[in-house]
């Protein structure tokens, strides 16, 4: 059984994030890492592998050279192999092109199950798994707070505002898991050493028979026009709560704003 986990390399959310002049995310100017939300996807794949002997966990990323770090981290956690799709033509691709490339790569890798994170921490669209499923005509069970696999059938629990849903699909299928699905493991010393020997393939668009002019910034179906940093907020009023000064200021604020 082969599981492909889709992982994305993203700018560190706790650092300064910004845009390049062409309106794309500035990946050169900030430190990057494996998207924390994709660690949950790797973890779920490893939990399935922990329970059975016939499972191979392959992590796949689409991204520039640095994105190899996302694969490395996943291998250290315990994945068995990596696939890095890298091609200069991909720069500036939107969700349409990203999902098209990943769908072709999945066809080439021929997994039984694809596991994704709930959203990338930079774009936060949360649409790629559904868009890939649409292209592959595969069942998609997305936003699982739990994931289980039995008899070539996956089951997830999806919590919405109004209900808790149980969803089933047969393999091959694509799923995404949320940060409620269970803490991701840290790489062990053994895992870090073992990762160095694990195979990582690099694929280009030519390997996937994708026309380079169909992806990238110029081909994008949606275009960023302008990016503006939010102006720094005017410092507010800070009150130290002594002799009830805090609640007095609070109530005054509520009154001035006509909340009471």
């Amino acid at each position: 059984m082969k599981i492909v986990v889709l992982v994305k390399y993203v700018p560190d959310a706790t650092g300064e994030r910004s845009f390049a002049a062409d309106g794309t995310v500035d990946r050169a100017g900030s430190d990057g890492l494996l998207s924390e939300l994709d660690e949950y996807a790797v973890e779920q794949a490893l939990q399935i592998a922990d329970k059975r002997d016939d499972v191979e966990v392959v992590v796949m990323t689409l991204g520039p050279e640095d994105a190899a770090d996302a694969i490395k981290r996943s291998l250290q956690m315990g994945a068995s192999a990596g696939i890095h799709i890298i091609d200069d033509a991909v720069h500036g691709s939107d969700a349409a092109a990203t999902s098209a490339i990943l769908a072709e790569a999945i066809k080439k890798a021929v997994p039984d199950l694809v596991i994704c994170g709930m959203a990338s921490t930079d774009g936060t669209m949360g649409v790629i798994p559904a868009m890939i499923a649409e292209r592959l005509d595969w069942p998609a069970a997305t936003l699982g707070a739990t994931l289980s696999l039995a008899d070539d059938r996956i089951t997830i629990r999806r919590d919405t505002d109004v209900a808790s849903l149980t969803i089933e699909a047969s393999l091959p299928a694509i799923v995404s898991v949320t940060d409620q699905s269970g803490d991701a493991r840290y790489p062990s010393m053994k895992g870090i050493l073992a990762a160095k020997k694990k195979p990582v393939e690099t694929w280009t668009l030519a390997d996937l028979a994708i026309d380079t002019s169909s992806v990238g910034l110029d081909a994008a179906w949606s275009k960023v026009l302008q990016t503006t940093p939010r102006p720094p907020k005017e410092p507010g009023r800070i009150i130290v709560d002594e002799d009830d000064a805090g609640s007095a200021a609070f109530v005054e604020f509520l009154t001035a704003g006509k909340y009471i």
């Binding site: 959310a13 994030r17 910004s18 969700a95 349409a96 999902s99 936060t124 669209m125 949360g126 649409v127 559904a130 868009m131 499923a133 649409e134 292209r135 595969w138 069942p139 998609a140 997305t142 936003l143 707070a145 089951t155 999806r158 919590d159 505002d161 209900a163 808790s164 849903l165 149980t166 969803i167 089933e168 699909a169 940060d179 409620q180 179906w221 949606s222 275009k223 960023v224 026009l225 302008q226 990016t227 503006t228 940093p229 939010r230 907020k233 507010g236 800070i238 009150i239 130290v240 709560d241 805090g246 609640s247 200021a249 609070f250 109530v251 604020f253 509520l254 704003g257 909340y259 009471i260």
Partner: protein, 315 residues
């Protein structure tokens, strides 16, 4: 004038407020046509008419409820083939975004998610990187499929006289592949919907799990209750109330954060609130950088005192 499709979500047979917001935004681009999944009864049709829907299309195939997302995307694609809309607007919920993503693939159209505004020429505004940047974007290809965050605009009345049309759609077998085998309804809190509330009172790890004062203050202000992920992870409050990157984004008139440090992932969900009040005993907490009013103090003292004063005032 061209038509603009909007998906009108229903909650307990009522049109959701975000649907009225979509109608209001759609009127900037053309004539709104509302798609309702399920029956559009009289209350629903009336509300959609009041806010400017020139047609109401009701799709009531049972497959819509039995399978995840896909039948809805197919239905919209089929409707779009006949209506040929100038744009398709859907509310930014997890399901709405997935429907939009699939629809964009089906229609070979550009997709924009989480818009906070929409101009007459189709240009969208989005707030990204935890609210630290504002981005404008447009769709040069196909029928723009745009998901819009709740609270993007104040719904404006524009009476129209739509007929409710029943629309038959065909749901393919491949759309019936992720089956909803069970659905446990959740109990409603009786408070306003978190993403729609004008006031949100949120508690974090600093509450120590005691949410009674948070809830009482929310009720006095007619607001909703929210929680940080630390509070949710500790099991103090349900996940549906989590605010932040992996929870809800809220943009109320007033956000009150009590015992919340203001980590970047939390700020991502509340940074665009109009006014922010923070209560935290640590004067160095990052939440104070966002606060219009910051109170450095113990929430166990401040909140009860505020509640007491409001009650006195209300008599």
């Amino acid at each position: 004038m061209s038509e603009v499709l909007i998906v009108a979500e229903q909650v307990d047979s009522h049109v959701s407020r975000p649907a009225l917001e979509l109608l209001t935004l759609a009127r900037r681009l053309g004539d709104p046509v509302a798609v309702v999944f399920g029956e559009a009864d009289e209350t629903v049709a009336k509300a959609l008419a009041e806010y400017g829907a020139i047609r109401v299309l009701s799709v009531s195939d049972p497959a819509l409820n039995d399978y995840l997302v896909t039948p809805k995307a197919e239905a919209l694609a089929q409707i779009a083939e006949t209506v040929r809309p100038a744009a398709i607007l859907i509310t930014s919920t997890p399901e709405g975004k997935e429907i939009a993503g699939r629809l964009a693939v089906k229609l070979e159209s550009g997709l924009i998610t989480d818009a906070t505004d929409l101009a007459a020429d189709g240009t969208t505004t989005q707030s990204v990187f935890a609210g630290n940047w504002t981005v404008t974007a447009a769709v040069p290809r196909g029928v723009p499929v745009i998901t819009v965050k709740p609270n993007a605009v104040t719904p404006e009345v524009a009476p129209a006289e739509p007929a409710v049309e029943q629309v038959e759609v065909t749901v393919s077998d491949t759309a019936k592949s992720a089956r909803i085998v069970n659905s446990e309804p959740k109990q409603s809190s009786g408070r306003p919907e978190l993403t729609e509330a004008g006031v949100v009172v949120a508690g974090g790890r600093g509450t120590g799990g005691e949410f009674a004062a948070i809830e009482e203050l929310a009720d006095l202000l007619g607001g909703a209750v929210g929680a940080s992920r630390a509070a949710v992870d500790a099991g103090w409050y349900p996940y549906a109330y989590q605010i932040g990157q992996t929870g809800k984004t809220v943009s109320p008139q007033l956000y009150i954060a009590a015992g919340i440090s203001g980590a970047i992932q939390h700020r991502a969900g509340m940074q665009t609130s109009k006014a922010i009040v923070a209560v935290n005993k640590d004067s160095e907490a990052p939440i104070f950088a966002l606060a219009d009013l910051g109170i450095v103090g113990d929430l166990n003292k401040v909140l009860p005192a505020v509640i007491e004063k409001i009650k006195q005032r209300k008599g």
